[in-house]
């Protein structure tokens, strides 16, 4: 049940995307997100769909596995869709009490839903094909220029990678705690909102305690190995762009050109 959260999980298969330099993937994900906001009509979204489908295909991660991550944002999705649907001004096509649906609202809501879904799927492609370690390396290196203005890039990326690394651990831990409490007759499903919130206490207390314990242990283990930040730290596998990375950047440039081009096309 709780294992279904796929955001931040790594899926170990060998594919073109897995072999790409993490910086290439980071840049690609960012570009994809920007492109979603650049797309202004159906053609733009169509281009994004083709790009996303190709990326999913190339990642060799089963489609079903990827969409499972969407369950987590279902509520957010419904909320933003209904806000857009009912609160946009324009030509009215349907009215029920104070609720009214307009053509513009319908269009906005549709695009918003697609945008959100693509956003989540797009970024989960990155985390599914990149190990947290690679991801931090990539982040650290591509944001390295910020060090000059005093931003602690290494520390931030280290914190990020630790946070990412801990997501699956804590998910698993939650699963175990849930089971331990269910074995004592706990019921996490039934009851009203207050009842449900109350039933979370036996789950959250052990979870927080374990998270704090793990954090202390990790800090201790890092200190025992003389970790003192990024200063003078070398890498076992320094990042180096390969031919496939340059080719991927070409694909990106082409995709962006297409997205910008679609803005001039007529369409809804």
């Amino acid at each position: 049940m709780i294992r279904d959260i796929t955001i931040g999980q790594y899926y170990p298969v060998d594919s073109v995307l897995h072999r790409l330099d993490p910086r290439t993937k980071l840049f690609g994900t960012m570009m994809f997100i920007i492109s979603l906001f650049l797309a202004s009509n159906i053609w733009g979204y169509l281009a994004a769909t083709v790009f996303l489908a190709a990326a999913i295909r190339a990642s060799k991660v089963p489609f079903g596995f990827m969409v499972r991550g969407l369950k987590a944002i279902l509520f957010l999705l419904l909320l933003s869709v209904s806000f857009n649907l009912f609160l946009t001004d324009g030509r009215e096509i349907f009215r029920l009490g104070f609720l009214r649906i307009t053509i513009e609202g319908l269009r906005m809501a549709g695009f918003m839903a697609v945008r959100l879904i693509y956003l989540v799927v797009g970024s989960s492609i990155m985390t599914l094909t990149t190990t947290p370690n690679q991801l931090t390396d990539g982040l650290e290196k591509s944001l390295g220029f910020l060090k000059k203005v005093g931003v602690p890039v290494h520390e931030i990326s280290m914190m990020m990678s630790i946070a990412l690394r801990f997501i699956p651990i804590l998910v698993e831990e939650t699963d175990k705690i849930m089971k331990a409490q269910m074995a004592r007759g706990a019921d996490f499903e039934s009851g009203g909102l207050i009842q449900k919130a109350k039933s979370m206490v036996p789950l959250l207390v052990p979870l927080f305690i374990s998270a704090f314990r793990r954090a202390t242990d990790l800090a201790m283990a890092m200190e025992a190995r003389c970790y003192h930040g990024g200063e003078g730290r070398t890498k076992m596998k320094p990042l180096r762009y390969a031919g496939r990375d340059y080719r991927t950047y070409l694909v990106y440039a082409f995709y962006m050109a297409v997205i910008i081009g679609t803005r001039f096309l007529p369409g809804i």
Binding site: A180, Q181, A183, R184, G185, P206, I209
Partner: protein
């Protein structure tokens, strides 16, 4: 109150690259009042198996009968089952959450919807039967030692008055004395209350001493099933699975090889002592 498992198979992450067959066509029956030891190396499927027995995991295929009824049949109350088949997980940290020991133990019976007095008396009984002294009852469970936390965790399950008690490595990380105390308490639950016990452990010595039957798991399959003496006869095969027989069994085999005719099915130190004394004519 027997537990019958038929052709149980469980696959983690079915249909993905992370697919893993944790249990593969496992069948057995545990009659009422038996003390069963469950052994197997890490990842052999022991933990997955015991979580099936109280319905925490739904099998990929196969059936589990408790008292003759399929626990996954329509309308069967899994919550009721969990109060009859008590499962104590390995880490007490996973279940302790209340401000004091006593209220933590009350959590289980409270979930059963019992009366205040009944809850209290059950919690008191449970704490006493695991040897928790009254002075600890008002303490925070997080301030206790590892062994005491284990006791509270076991009491938390015992307070639900289960007919079957399953313990996942209740002695891991304890010092020898704490280990013996906990195992003796479990044994007395078995003997005095006639509770069925399923004990997961890595200590072959403990298994030889306490269990009347051993089930050995290997790669998700049931490898051996019999009395400790029968199972430890196969000590060579056990070694191939990353397990072993009790140390004293090795000594007995070594002695026989050197021409000293002790019994070959020795599994506890006491048996070895008696056999050697007999040989010396004392």
């Amino acid at each position: 109150m027997s537990i019958r498992v038929e052709h149980l198979t469980f696959i983690y992450n079915q249909g993905t690259a992370l697919e893993q067959r944790a249990l593969d066509d496992v069948s057995f029956e545990i009659p009422n009042g038996q003390f069963v030891g469950l052994i197997g190396h890490t990842g052999s499927g022991k933990s997955t198996l015991i979580q099936h027995l109280n319905g925490l995991i739904r099998p990929t295929s196969g059936t589990i009968f408790y008292d003759g009824t399929d626990i996954y049949s329509e309308g069967y109350s899994l919550r009721q089952l969990r109060s009859k088949v008590g499962l104590v997980f390995q880490y007490p940290e996973h279940q302790l959450f209340e401000v004091d020991v006593f209220s933590d133990v009350c959590y289980g019976p409270k979930n059963l919807g019992l009366s205040q007095e009944e809850i209290k008396s059950r919690a008191e009984d449970a704490l006493r039967s695991v040897g928790m002294k009254e002075k600890y009852w008002d303490q925070s469970p997080f301030e206790l030692s590892g062994g005491q936390k284990r006791r509270v965790a076991i009491a938390g399950v015992l307070a639900m008055n289960p007919e079957v008690l399953i313990l996942d490595e209740p002695t891991a990380g304890l010092d020898p004395r704490g280990r013996d105390e906990i195992l003796d308490e479990i044994k007395s639950l078995h003997e005095e209350k006639g509770m069925t016990i399923i004990l997961v452990s890595h200590s072959m010595e403990d298994m030889a001493r306490y269990a009347s039957r051993l089930i050995v798991m290997n790669h998700g399959k049931k490898a051996f099933d019999g009395t400790p003496k029968e199972v430890f006869e196969h000590y060579k095969e056990l070694e191939a699975m990353g397990l072993a027989a009790p140390q004293v069994t090795y000594i007995a085999h070594e002695l026989r090889e050197r021409g000293i005719p002790v019994d070959k099915d020795i599994t506890t130190v006491e048996e070895a002592r008696d056999a050697i004394l007999r040989l010396l004519g004392k």
